[in-house]
Symmetry: C2
Subunit: 221 residues, 2 copies
């Protein structure tokens, strides 16, 4: 595509700049106007395993598309490689979009990519996006807040860095959190998390929803 005019999309992607662009939870209709404009004008697009693949149709025909999707078990090394790639491409004069699933700053590595740009003196822009914890329940008919019922919600990693030990997430405090709890990447630890919350006083009658492939055609709940 590439030539699509996007209202309110702002200026085209600039040579020598890195754009940390959120793609939202999966439905390409949730991609933002600025994000679409940047995808349509970048010369390099480094995209995630979870970024909405349809949106890559917006890219220029001559754009270099680089799949940097990470396997769950080998984050650390790959992230360094991604950081280095973004910096190297920008320094080579490309207009670089790092196209990520969800929001770049919500339990993603966007802040580390921003740090890499700062360290390298490469200009960058962050484009926030719809986060799955809000949108996936919404598509399932569940509001994360509701007047009189839930005046708050919390987004918590369900897949902690094993090197941090178990104490980083205080399940006692979480069990008392006055609102909806949204666990990301929690499917592998769902039993332990539920047990910890109940042990800390969360009623066993608390309603629970599990969503996978939220907002996409593969949506299951």
């Amino acid at each position: 595509m590439g030539s699509a005019e996007i209202p309110f999309g702002g200026p085209a992607a600039s040579a020598g700049t890195v754009y940390l662009v959120g793609g939202g939870p999966g439905d390409p209709g949730l991609v933002g106007l600025r994000a679409a404009r940047l995808l349509a004008t970048a010369t390099v697009v480094a995209y995630d395993r979870l970024a909405p693949p349809e949106a890559l149709d917006l890219c220029r025909d001559d754009a270099e598309l680089i799949y940097v999707g990470k396997q769950p078990d080998r984050h650390a090394l790959a992230q360094d490689e991604i950081n280095a790639l973004l910096v190297a491409k920008a320094r080579a004069g490309d207009a670089v979009v790092r196209f990520k699933g969800g929001d770049p700053f919500v339990l993603a590595r966007g802040s580390e990519e921003a740090q890499a740009c700062v360290a390298a003196g490469v200009p960058f822009e962050v484009v926030p996006a719809v986060t799955a914890g809000i949108a996936a329940p919404a598509y399932a008919g569940i509001p994360v807040t509701h007047r009189g019922a839930a005046p708050a919600f919390a987004v918590v990693t369900g897949h902690e860095d094993p090197t941090k030990g178990a104490t980083q997430v205080d399940y006692d405090a979480l069990a008392r959190f006055p609102g909806t709890l949204l666990l990301y990447m929690g499917v592998g630890r769902v039993r332990e998390i539920a047990a910890a919350l109940v042990a800390a006083g969360k009623p066993v009658t608390t309603p629970v929803a599990l969503v996978r492939w939220g907002t996409t055609r593969g949506n299951r709940r």
Copy 2:
């Protein structure tokens, strides 16, 4: 405008349907593709005080634009009126977009508008959006999560329903929350909230950012 082609915007707004559409925190570039397509095809658009006004340029020339912005002090009455308006317009055969600031289900009244549609038998669709608590700090260079530092964030109302009393938000649990706290609409109670968190054990050295008009040209922090 109205005729703008929006990639991945999905089908046009349907007669007799209510669309609860989030406009994001202020920057019209953060409006989503589905949201833009619905704005461009609705026959009635009921818009908020905080929905990005520029995005209304997308509307059809013959669309009826209705300002339903609420003053902070008279929520209750106005919300009933808004619910009734949405239902009446849809029943009259309009394709109705309810265009809201932020996300319709995050400390907004979108879930009540959805309930009104259900009660009236009017079909509706929810279009999630970028929420200010994530985007406004991002524009200020602050990630709400960061590996090794903040594995979670919480969005909490800073402007509780006065009829609920003070006990709905448990500041003791909030003070122990293992991540970033995002207080919405908290400017009027910032002293009391800070005092309550410190009294519950939050270190007085905890970094704090105040953002107003986040992501807009009036942005101050």
